[in-house]
Symmetry: C2
Subunit: 296 residues, 2 copies
């Protein structure tokens, strides 16, 4: 495989996920922190206007604006659609400064711990994720690949890279421990890429646990679309833990339990993410698999 | 003292604190839950436009709009200034449906537990708060009285009442356990007021712990007003716990500890409240006192 020549570190793709914004600001004050001898590191605030107003987005979710057909569609003129085109024209495959690796920094009100979200299963991404889990047991690997292999996320501008999703932390709040843990992961990623470029990537485990997104589940709603139940207290903050058939999932405002009626044990993530109420997502359901690192 | 004839339960004074909003909606679906024989209970969504857009406010913080001079100032025409005037004209001392007791429902990203915030120390408020702490050890009593005895908060439209501040919960997130605990406190308050009206208020402890707000502390900032440090991990979520001189308070982005340099042990609250970054408040400092319930 060819070497990594440019790494782009993105914060503020969502304007109210401020861990990434303040990390990018720190790296811009002290660029030495992210430089390595074998590649260039660049920082980017993904959605500056959303950051300025402390909201996820201005017009629409920037992290759903990167489908090819949307990037090529001149009739899409929202602020975020335009911002996505600029980012793609700059750092995309055929951009003016093409990125070889993207790290997109996010945070969640769900208890995502330190999640590495991968949009594809190429060997570099898998090996890197395996390495990160081997040095930090808090790291989880989440695949968000879709059936159609097209994803609208910012990190899809580049074959290599990942989204870091850390939590639980409220929107527009800095949690110092998570800030430092996120920074440490970025440093480990950069060190790994340096070693990779030098032909000496560190050895990792042969087999890793991978959580694969298979579907989303919405809140129970009435005919007006109003939610009728909350995440059950037994499920709150239990991201990546097994949910067995028959276990409680929701609690109605009147106190009635609603159980998980699937047939398989699953592993919910993004449980009670604030930004997903409007997306009709109470949680994402994943399946756990054990994957050999060296098989593609 | 005269009897309580009308209780007003307010949710959505801040549009992104949705525990109160969904409680008010529940009470509006099932008004029997809040009715008692000796008084009328009324519900109110304080800031409907802010609720509709999921933000704390549209133009300005509604819960800072209730100073007398502002309510009487015709030149204040923001959405929230107008909303405050309407609420005051309806439920204020001389309103069309004057409230005798107000319960204003809030939530916080700080670990406020179940806080009863009192704006004055009249005997009914104190006795009620003492009762609530006696039946639920998670309840804390916080005085937010000011030197000048004027407060801009919604609950100041009425001599009797309180603000309930529950947390930690992210903005625009429902936490089912906190929802149920808040509802239980509202029920206890209504039952207490019913017993009070009937001349048989339940006995309470003689002495209560009261946390009295004395000052606020801002984040360290640079000359541009940008914050330079985060709440220290050792202080995060430690609301109502003692902070001794010399103990860590902030952590800079570069990892340097900043300690509390006061001379007295204090009890910080509202630590890392998301909505207070813009108010230049990293935390509110309180002093703990032990107060006799029957002395005014």
């Amino acid at each position: 495989m060819s070497k990594i020549k440019r790494v782009v570190i993105v914060g503020g793709t969502h304007g109210n996920e401020i861990t990434g914004i303040y990390l990018v600001k720190k790296f811009e004050r002290s660029p030495d922190l992210i430089q390595r001898s074998s590649f260039e590191s660049v920082t980017l605030i993904g959605n500056p206007q959303a950051c300025a107003i402390g909201k996820r987005y201005v017009d629409t979710d920037l992290n759903r604006c990167f489908l090819s057909q949307d990037l090529e569609n001149p009739s899409l003129t929202s602020y975020e659609a335009q911002q996505a085109k600029i980012i793609h024209q700059t750092f995309g495959f055929q951009g003016s400064q093409p990125a070889d690796f993207v790290i997109d920094l996010h945070s969640s009100t769900a208890n995502m711990g330190l999640s590495i979200i991968l949009g594809n299963e190429n060997l570099l991404n898998i090996s890197l994720a395996a390495y990160l889990t081997s040095i930090n047991p808090k790291v989880k690997i989440l695949y968000s690949t879709s059936q159609h292999k097209v994803r609208p996320h910012l990190d899809s501008i580049c074959e290599f890279g990942c989204t870091l999703e850390v939590g639980a932390v409220a929107q527009n709040v800095l949690d110092a421990a998570l800030f430092q843990e996120t920074e440490a992961i970025i440093q480990e990623i950069l060190d790994y890429l340096e070693a990779y470029n030098q032909g000496t990537p560190p050895l990792t485990k042969d087999t890793i646990n991978v959580y694969h997104s298979i579907e989303t589940i919405d809140y129970p709603r009435n005919e007006l679309g109003e939610i009728q139940a909350m995440i059950h207290p037994q499920l709150q903050f239990k991201d990546y833990q097994p949910l067995h058939p028959g276990e409680p999932m929701f609690l109605t405002f009147e106190g009635k339990e609603i159980v998980y009626d699937g047939e398989l044990t699953v592993y919910p993530v993004f449980i009670n993410e604030a930004a997903y109420y409007e997306k009709a997502i109470a949680m994402c359901i994943t399946q756990l698999s054990h994957r050999k690192v060296n098989s593609q």
